[in-house]
Amino acid sequence: MIGLESAIAAIGAGLAILGGAIGTGLAQEGIGSAGMGLLAEKPESTGQVLLFLVIPETLVIFGFVIAILIMLAAGLI
């Protein structure tokens, strides 16, 4: 049986990832569409576009790290 504290911690960990994922998604939406526009004109820029596209992934990584820390503190893992 999971206690209330653990349940809240698990929800908190989920929210941390959710926030990061939404932030990353919103940022990638703009970069992705601009990148596609650039690639239509300059296909040789694929490398640079790909790189810019993954930059906002840091946000979801932070969410992931916070989630791990919450779960560690709550003894869930």
């Binding site: 490398g47 790909l50 930059i55 990584i61 790290v65 791990i68 560690l72």
Partner: protein
């Protein structure tokens, strides 16, 4: 040690020699391959390309045109002795095979044109073969006669209504699907009225008018006979084209390599002929300027003296101009040089981070993929890609980097006991490795430590770059950044993980704060870098994040889809398919993220601490022989 992080030292040179020695000097420099020309700023007359350059261009266009006509053999092999320009012009002037190729190509192109016209004529003649029409006479009659073809089911009722109408002559022939008809009218009111519905349908696209001007329709015979004749002509046309194609294949087999070698020789000779447009000249001398790697200076001098019998002067020039960057790693690591040039080559006056990039990328990639099965499979795939792609291209170089990355992926896989998500100790090996799930904290700490190590290296490079360029305060801000990272890490360890006593934590905490403020103050316009110290350090936790994600997905695939015969053969087959497809997808995502994130950590987190980039790539006056070899020197 520091030399590892320096680009090749360069020297700008001025070389002066007698004009009569020019062809020999150019040839020697071309062969030497270590001089990157720069236009001299001396106020002398510009030299011009050698006289025979135009002739060589004409020959090159002719030979390359012939090569483009020939079918390219799968393998082009052979080593042909290089012919100097004069001899090359003579030999190619006598070479009959080039003219033969052009003659065949012209004949093929003529036959292809005829084929199209023959097919059109055959279509029309076959369409009218059930009538007694002589198509050649239709154009010569005074009446207005036109021929059409269209869909039978739409046109047949309209044509049926015209039969027996006064002033209209109609001949039609239908094969069920398509109807061909020739129609003539005397332009009377009655005839025009009767034809109005048909013409309206034709205008709407129900039928197309047939071209009676086709030269193959002008034979004085009935359509049926003509169709037979055209069919035969078409067969003969096809036969002749096949024969010519076979002839071209035969020529390609015997001469392609030789012609490709001529093209290579012409390119080399043209490079040499055009080289002198980079020179300056006086009445009796020629002057070249350019960059040479310092370690090649002695060899260059020795070689030029030998060529000119000592009648040469070489002087180093002091220059403010940025020296070109030569990245010259061993063959195995060349793809990383390619990647650096693709991103932005280092300037010759800054630290070259390629060696750190190589090791860091390989470790990061291995960390994120960390699976023996995925490593071996991707090694096979990467090797295959390198076999089928062009060694000069982006795909080949990316595959080479990927191929090297599979080694750490396999090593990390062994260390963490991951084999397509399975752990071998469950079956037959006693070695348990470092379990990803049970050691999440350790992996997170390891990724942060790797990040700290790379950031410290980056900041140290930044210190050297800034110090060399006289920006001492900014250089010191790099040192305070290093201090802030190290002490910040110690403070985090002490305060959050109980690593040290309170007093020490207080000391490290306050010191971190002071160094952080110092970084902002000393950094000036670049002081905002201080803000990124924490985020960039944490960014490296993605190593653990992507590694764990890949392992967990593989684990879940094994849990849910490991094939078993317990539920019958059909379920077993479905499980095998799902198991393979899902592992393949997980492997693709894992590899893609491993490469992209591995590169990103280096470019975004590491390079931003010191790297300017935008260097000028060293482009020596050189050539690469594929099918030719140096000519024998006659003494």
């Amino acid at each position: 040690m520091m030399l590892m992080f320096e680009t090749e030292p360069m020297q700008k040179l001025r070389i002066i020699f007698l004009a009569e020695d020019k062809p020999r000097v150019i040839k020697a420099l071309h062969k030497f391959g270590y001089l990157d020309f720069r236009k001299s700023k001396l106020s002398l007359v510009d030299d011009s390309p050698l006289a025979y350059a135009t002739q060589l261009y004409e020959l090159l266009v002719r030979v390359e045109g012939a090569l483009a006509i020939l079918p390219k053999p799968k393998k082009i092999e052979g080593r042909f002795e290089h012919l100097p320009a004069e001899k090359l012009v003579k030999v190619l002037g006598k070479e009959k095979v080039v003219q033969e190729i052009y003659d065949i190509a012209n004949r093929v192109s003529m036959l292809e044109e005829s084929k199209q016209e023959l097919e059109e004529a055959l279509y029309i003649a076959s369409g009218f073969s059930c009538t007694s029409i002589n198509l050649s006479r239709l154009r010569s009659t005074k009446a207005s006669i036109a021929c059409y073809a269209g869909e039978a089911k739409n046109l047949e009722p309209l044509l049926a209504s015209l039969h027996g109408t006064r002033g209209i002559a109609l001949q039609e022939c239908s094969n069920g699907k398509e109807v061909f008809f020739a129609i003539a009218s005397d332009k009377s009111e009655e005839a025009e009225k009767a034809l109005s519905s048909l013409y309206s349908a034709i205008r709407q696209g129900a039928a197309k008018e047939l071209n009676l001007d086709n030269k193959y329709l002008q034979e004085d015979m009935q359509a049926r006979q003509l169709a037979r004749k055209l069919k035969q002509a078409l067969e003969e046309n096809e036969e002749e084209r096949s024969m010519l194609k076979a002839k071209l294949e035969k020529i390609a087999k015997g001469h392609y390599a030789k012609l490709a070698a001529y093209a290579e020789m012409l390119h080399i000779e043209l490079d040499r002929a055009n080289a002198s447009s980079n020179f300056k000249k006086t009445e009796k001398t020629s002057i070249i300027e350019g960059w040479v790697p310092k370690k090649k200076l002695d060899k260059l001098e020795e070689m030029l003296k030998k060529e000119t019998k000592g009648k040469i002067a070489m002087e180093p020039i002091a220059s403010d101009e940025l020296a070109p960057t030569l990245l010259n790693r061993p063959k195995l690591l060349k793809p990383f040089d390619f990647a650096m040039v693709f991103f932005s080559p280092p300037r010759s006056d800054e630290i070259d981070p390629t060696w750190v990039f190589i090791f860091a990328f390989l470790i990061f990639y291995g960390f994120m993929v960390s699976d023996v099965g995925y490593g071996i499979l991707s090694l096979i795939l990467a090797t295959w890609v390198t076999k089928v792609t062009n060694p000069e291209g982006m795909t080949y170089n990316a595959a080479k980097v990927w191929q090297l990355g599979t080694i750490p992926a396999i090593l990390f896989g062994i260390l963490t006991n991951q084999y397509f998500g399975l752990q071998l100790d469950q079956y037959f090996l006693p070695f348990r490795g470092i379990d990803w799930v049970k050691n999440v904290t350790s992996f997170m700490l390891a990724s942060i430590l790797l990040g700290i190590a790379e950031l410290i290296i980056g900041l140290s490079f930044g210190f050297v770059n800034k110090y060399r360029h006289g920006e001492k305060l900014k250089a010191y801000s790099k040192l305070t950044s290093i201090g802030a990272i190290v002490l910040g890490a110690l403070f985090t360890y002490g305060a959050f993980f109980g690593g040290f006593e309170k007093g020490i934590n207080m000391l490290t905490g306050i010191s971190t704060l002071v160094l952080f403020v110092a970084t902002i103050v000393l950094g000036g316009s670049e002081g905002s870098e201080a803000m990124s110290l924490l985020t960039h350090t944490l960014s490296y936790t993605r190593l653990m994040g992507f590694g764990l994600t890949s392992v967990m997905i593989a684990y879940l695939i094994d849990l849910a889809f490991t094939p078993t015969l317990a539920h019958g053969i059909l379920v077993f087959v479905l499980l095998v398919i799902a198991f393979l497809v899902l592992h393949t997808l997980n492997m693709i995502v894992s590899i893609f993220e491993g490469i992209v994130q591995g590169v990103r950590l280096n470019i975004v987190e590491f390079f931003t601490k010191f790297y300017t980039g935008g260097g000028i790539v060293f482009k020596p006056f050189a050539y690469k022989r594929m099918l030719t070899k140096e000519e024998k020197v006659v003494k």
